[in-house]
């Protein structure tokens, strides 16, 4: 063998071993040459379809008949018939559907010779499909948030409108009728004598009493309407609050641009705000918060709202019954991923029934509660990827709020 022949042999054995399928065939489909990878990929299909394995057209007829047509319709003596195209093959394999993806290039080498270069790209294709699905899911998730955001915005607008309407009703609720009745009553009392002379004292008294009664009724009605309206205003304020928090939450989902918040200073600020009320109730504050507590990502105002609410609950609970030691204990610790804060009070506490409902919308154990405070707190904390739980050993045993906030 001379060196050119050796080179050629080497080249051929490289072609035999390259990890891409290669088939050389006649324009009638009969296979002239095929490399190892080609057999590796095609042999299972030849066998499954019970084909001889000597003619490509027998196989293409089943899995991709259009390719045969393209080869036959290609008139020039040489040239590219197909350039890196993809083809999906579906085959029935013993009752199981098999889907494989191939990519191929077909080249007409000379008048009667066609080369076929191909590979099985099923795994690649499946990976790509998975990525596409994941992206799609993310897009759906994103559009959900956008939709929720839109709805919240609309409800927010409606609530503002409703608030303005109630305000108007309140303004219209003037006491003019009541004032008229009162002056009428005054006038009658002042002129009691002439009236008595005219219609007798019994009738005069009855008339004056009646007017006084109507005025009193009117007064009561006006007061009741006033308090109902105030209540409504309170509820609207709460709804606005919840909407604001939900919006914050969605914003939190959309962007991660929250600032770093020092929890120690948030707690200090909150206590400073309610300290006068605590002092008045003789409640002592005990604090154990490390100086090096790491900051958490969050919204300072919202977090302060939570602490204020929790401190307010604690102080109201402590004040709700007579007992010796009135105190709130605040302890903070850091873990690898979070800052954990416990707020324990010596207040009235709660039983299991109340515990199960603490975070139920509209539930309250207070005389004047709206049942929205704790729910708000939890929403805020959850929007910070944190948790809020409340524990109590039962009535008169006090309660503890446990917060975790992700660092």
């Amino acid at each position: 063998m001379n060196s050119t022949e050796q080179q050629l042999q080497k080249m051929i054995s490289i072609i035999n071993q390259i990890p891409t399928g290669f088939v050389e065939m006649n324009t009638d489909g009969s296979i002239l040459q095929m490399n190892a990878k080609g057999i590796q990929l095609l042999m299972p299909m030849f066998t499954m379809l019970q084909l001889s394995g000597t003619n490509m057209y027998e196989l293409l007829q089943v899995i991709a008949p259009e390719i045969i047509i393209r080869i036959q319709k290609f008139e020039p003596d040489s040239g590219i018939i197909a350039q890196q195209e993809n083809h999906k093959v579906e085959m029935d394999m013993g009752g199981q559907k098999m889907i494989r993806y191939f990519y191929y290039t077909i080249y007409k080498v000379e008048a009667n010779i066609v080369s076929f270069v191909f590979d099985d790209i099923t795994e690649l294709q499946e990976k790509e499909n998975q990525i596409r699905e994941a992206l799609q899911e993310k897009a759906i998730e994103q559009s959900k948030f956008e939709m929720a955001s839109g709805i919240l915005h609309d409800i927010g607008n409606a609530v503002v409108g409703f608030g303005a309407y109630i305000n108007r009703i309140k303004r219209h609720l003037t006491y003019s009728d009541l004032n008229t009745l009162n002056s009428l009553h005054g006038f009658l009392e002042k002129n009691q004598q002439p009236f008595e002379a005219a219609i007798g004292s019994a009738k005069t008294k009855a008339m004056i009493d009646m007017i006084a009664g109507i005025a009193e009724n009117q007064q009561k009605n006006a007061e009741a309407a006033d308090s109902i309206i105030s209540e409504q205003m309170g509820i609207i304020a709460h709804i606005s609050d919840i909407l604001a928090i939900q919006r914050q939450y969605i914003k939190g989902q959309q962007t991660e641009d929250r600032e770093k918040v020092n929890i120690r200073s948030v707690i200090n600020d909150s206590i400073a705000m309610i300290l006068p009320a605590l002092t008045k109730k003789h409640i002592v504050i005990q604090m154990d918060i490390p100086l090096d507590l790491p900051p958490v990502k969050g919204d300072k105002t919202r977090l302060m709202q939570v602490f204020l609410n929790l401190f307010k609950n604690a102080s109201e609970s402590i004040d709700s019954f007579e007992h010796e030691e009135k105190k709130i204990t605040i302890i903070a610790i850091k873990t690898a991923e979070s800052v954990n804060i416990s707020i324990a009070d010596s207040g009235y506490g709660f039983d299991d029934d109340i515990a199960n409902n603490l975070f139920t919308r509209g539930f309250t154990s207070k005389d004047t509660g709206s049942g929205l405070g704790l729910l708000n707190c939890r929403s805020i904390i959850e929007s910070h990827q944190g948790t809020l739980e409340l524990h109590s050993d039962g009535f008169t045993k006090g309660a503890t709020a446990l917060l975790t906030l992700k660092i």
Binding site: Q33, P44, T54
Partner: protein, 120 residues
Amino acid sequence: MEIEFSSKSLLTWLESQQNSMYDELPFGVVKMNKNGIVVYYNKQESTITGVDSGMAVGKNFFVQIAPCTNNFMVAEKYKLAELDEELNYLFTYVTTPTKVKLRLLKSAEHWHQYMLVHKY
């Protein structure tokens, strides 16, 4: 003793012989360890595939010598502990497709696994 491609006791016979004895057989023999590394590649096998015996020994048969067998029809079968199967297949004599009959042999009690190749 007449040794044939389809003899029942072929595996036991192969295990009991010196490697050089395989060269007397009328069909190709690829002797591998259980990781698919070629231990012996007989003369007949070299004739069928054009692969030199010296070049084949020490290499992974399914990956380096005959990638055409690296699919569920052949290579995957050797994952079984017990294997004795005959099938029709195509080999490449360099790049010329060659019709062959294969017999895949493997048993838990024997140290090696074999692939027998018969041109037809």
